[in-house]
Assembly symmetry: C4
Amino acid sequence: MNEPLCKRLAAEVVGSAFLLATIVGTSIMGAKLAAGAPAMALFVTSTSAGAMLTVLIWLFGPVSGAHLNPVVSLAFSANGQLAWRDVLPYGLAQLAGFAIGLWSAHAMFELPVLQVAVTARTGAGHWLAEAIATFGLILVILGCVARRPSVVPAAVGLYIAAAYWFTASTAFANPAMTLVRALTATPAGILPQHVFGFAAAEIAGAVLAILAGRYFWPAPR
Amino acid sequence: MNEPLCKRLAAEVVGSAFLLATIVGTSIMGAKLAAGAPAMALFVTSTSAGAMLTVLIWLFGPVSGAHLNPVVSLAFSANGQLAWRDVLPYGLAQLAGFAIGLWSAHAMFELPVLQVAVTARTGAGHWLAEAIATFGLILVILGCVARRPSVVPAAVGLYIAAAYWFTASTAFANPAMTLVRALTATPAGILPQHVFGFAAAEIAGAVLAILAGRYFWPAPR
Amino acid sequence: MNEPLCKRLAAEVVGSAFLLATIVGTSIMGAKLAAGAPAMALFVTSTSAGAMLTVLIWLFGPVSGAHLNPVVSLAFSANGQLAWRDVLPYGLAQLAGFAIGLWSAHAMFELPVLQVAVTARTGAGHWLAEAIATFGLILVILGCVARRPSVVPAAVGLYIAAAYWFTASTAFANPAMTLVRALTATPAGILPQHVFGFAAAEIAGAVLAILAGRYFWPAPR
Amino acid sequence: MNEPLCKRLAAEVVGSAFLLATIVGTSIMGAKLAAGAPAMALFVTSTSAGAMLTVLIWLFGPVSGAHLNPVVSLAFSANGQLAWRDVLPYGLAQLAGFAIGLWSAHAMFELPVLQVAVTARTGAGHWLAEAIATFGLILVILGCVARRPSVVPAAVGLYIAAAYWFTASTAFANPAMTLVRALTATPAGILPQHVFGFAAAEIAGAVLAILAGRYFWPAPR
């Protein structure tokens, strides 16, 4: 990871694009092929998203760290593994990548590229779920990076595949992706006015995980 | 695993909480999205539970061993890998974690936090199934710890995902978790009066596995 | 694998028992929960069987080789990795284990222990499928043992999970297990009079794979 | 991979045959068992294809590289990892293997061996999807070969399993296989007149990935 910043940002863009193209594209395909079977539609989304995450972290981990998530970048900065001045560029690259991925998914399925979400996702249960989902995600990353770095890609993929199901909110766990998912009317979307609650809960969960990580793994290797 | 006891117990609490939150949360989501398709509901629970178990053992294995199950702690003590005086604190930490996880799942789905189970799970077939499921779980752990320690997390996750299906009882295989699952009216529950039969069968299976493990792997490395 | 023969045979018995208990138990559970959705029922059987196979080879591979299949024992003997005089005891241990596993599955689900199969499985398509399935299985084992021994458990599990679906016969690929599956009236069974055709096709596929393996990997390491 | 060309071509033939037999066989079995549940039928195909790809790359990677795809052979040649003069023989071996696999699948299911496809697959969305799917596939291969060669088999399998779902075209991502899939009237087929558009999009995606790979991993190890 001694790559120049521009190459690291390019990796974050391409990785984020593939990640959200997978989530949105699969949710379109799932809704089409599994009409009336919402569990099947969510299952294909959860397994595809988990599989793609694992692949992308294998692929871009050695280039940029494959954060694909601003709270992951934040956690690495808090741990001294990413320069603080790189957090904002990483976040912007992730936003750009998510937008490219979302619009690519719309284009592949010949839907209007520009859309606005119609799915309500709000309430205390959903916020608690996002906080727990993000707490777990960041804890898994920090702990495995500290003690078993070779399993990070598989651990993140399996965690997210499971988190889709045990949280009431399907585990967005990513404030930048949450924001961009306001731009799709497919089942992967979230009403724009509900983005703030999700993002705040996700950030709270991430901060708690950073604190817990310092207790469990005080000197990450 | 030379961590102080308090940190090891904290790992058992957090790990146990995530494990039961996954099982209960997924069973709620599965019942909601797969109404009328019980195989799909059980399949998402079995795969999510297996995936989360693997992740949690990767994460907390280097801290506490990630037992998440009193009969696992018992088996390690019988093998000299955990001090006998730590078995009870581990068991209490697991109980506390399971309660936190179960109540968190209820809260995420905006259900009453305090519930009592309504699902009957009893009879000779179920007891035989719990004994076999726990026998296999402990044997897998002892054998892989002895000969292929790096695969233990994946082996436990895959074993449990399969055991959900081949046992008539969906493989609780964990007396502390069985007890706490009397506190949920979701499909993951077990009637309080049926807990004792399950727990006794699980302990019997574990004891047999400890004996079989001594035959197969007499000097664990 | 310098274990005494009696311990190796015990490993083959226990491993074979868990393998067939998984296949038969899951097919009973699948038929019960996925009535009217045969693809779902077969999917849970294929994934559970594949997962359990991987676990069992991790567990018993260092003890007995975890053949769990007489044509696997035959292939290892042909390659000089198992004494010829051990092939028959291995086969008998596998038969005994399969019988124990099948009857255990019946008992767990409170079905009559002694049954006779009712499912017809015959014809040129099925025989071709069994020959191809077994050819692939033995080739995967010989090639991975020769060049990438650490992936054998995962490779066998993934291969069998896929082979359930691409063969017309759901890939028994195991003459001893085929014989014992004549003793169950669950969906996992095969009519006694159809066992011979399956077993002959499996042995033919295995012999071809041994020859192909000698071409591809002449000096296994 | 210092094997003689004839052995490498034999590996490409056998590997390609098993890959397409899996895709076509599973799509026949899926259509039969999951009539009216197209998501389930596609899910078993995507998971079986991904699992078999991983197994085949483990098995034949050390022999021929297990390209099983002419644009993969092209990418390795562009990177200096395959002699240019071997690209055409590899492509012909892949075509031959795909034909053998497709006809074997028909024979196993007792369908007419010679068929012509009936499924229309065309339009800008599908072409964009094939370009993106192939871009991602080649990028994953080049990046993992450069930095984490041991995960290539799992990465390709997981990528393809996910790509089935997030692309509108179910990710053929392979011009030779696309051509041969014009010879099946099963759900895996593609109308002969639609082959050219798919193949052109796949080649375009592959060329872009080769260029992107040079930027991200300039000196592959």
